[in-house]
Symmetry: C3
């Protein structure tokens, strides 16, 4: 059994949903040595999140952005936490609905995703900046 | 430390929420050898998902189906991704709200779930077919 | 590689969202021996949940309570599962939207959370009682 842990950076993205599978993989070449295991990918922020969804039609991602703006709207009359901008409280809500980590099986040195699956970085702020991830791969 | 990884199949289910704890366990008898650890159960699809919830009253599962159809309705006026049917875009949204994996503690050869907990397969398509899961058990 | 598994208790909380990072850490001093790994924190209940979000302004947590009461309201006309009180079915829904576990990277004997991140216990019942968690730390 082996464990690899690494801090990696995802470059700044526009508000919305972005496929980052390759941007992550480029930064963890050590995955090649893992025959079977899991990769835990964790975002160290509370206004951006990670999820797994369709890696093909870009309209899926833009529909995600529109739908999550309905699920957690800006300027709801009952928000008290407004000091960091109208995009801040919805960003916190979206982060918890989607989650701060994904875990992907690793098989023969690669993410063992389904044919249509990709890892999304979900940027919920208008100006979110670079995002820091901690990747922990456990396996043999 | 030991790691067991296995691809298993969940037989086709109707659209809705289904308890699959036993259907999973039947396919991973190796769990008996793990004294303490975790089981990562991952679905390789983007229009079905996994969650943990009440394993008793079937009305909980039918209420889930009704409520998630409100949270991610069919034929929202702002969906652009319509080509695969009106149940497709809501299926993607529900998958990310609920998640593509659950992780369950394993103790003395069994899932260490609470008394009222079961693993749900959440089938979001009208005709979803069989679903492929990757189970990775890490422990000793 | 080492694995530590422990059942811990979170004392009864009011309905709402509560930071429990320290209450968890106090009960797992063994984490000090883990240089790199992950901690899986699992709640054995279906009407309370765990998430990671902002650890500073308490208004974020009260806004969460208000917003989740909109996402899964009490006494929706289509709920059939009513026998355990009007807060019960929404509690099940919120639990699955937020999730029954969080996984946190562990680095040099500590949770490797971002500066603004804390672990929330999300108590969805009016009188939820003490909550049982299973913590599994895998690492070296």
């Amino acid at each position: 059994m082996n464990i690899i842990q690494k801090e990696i950076i995802i470059e700044q993205k526009q508000r919305g949903f972005h496929i980052v599978t390759e941007e992550i993989l480029r930064q963890i070449p050590e995955i090649k040595d893992i025959t079977k295991g899991t990769a835990h990918i964790f975002i160290q922020h509370t206004s951006a999140s990670l999820t797994i969804n369709e890696n093909a039609d870009p309209e899926v991602r833009s529909d995600f952005e529109k739908h999550f703006n309905k699920l957690a709207p800006e300027i709801a009359p009952y928000y008290d936490h407004n000091s960091e901008g109208s995009d801040d409280m919805p960003a916190h809500l979206k982060s918890s609905i989607l989650g701060s980590s994904v875990i992907v099986p690793v098989t023969r040195g690669e993410f063992n995703l389904g044919t249509w699956q990709g890892i999304y970085l979900c940027e919920h702020r208008n100006h979110g900046g670079r995002r820091r991830l901690i990747v922990t791969i456990t396996g043999e």
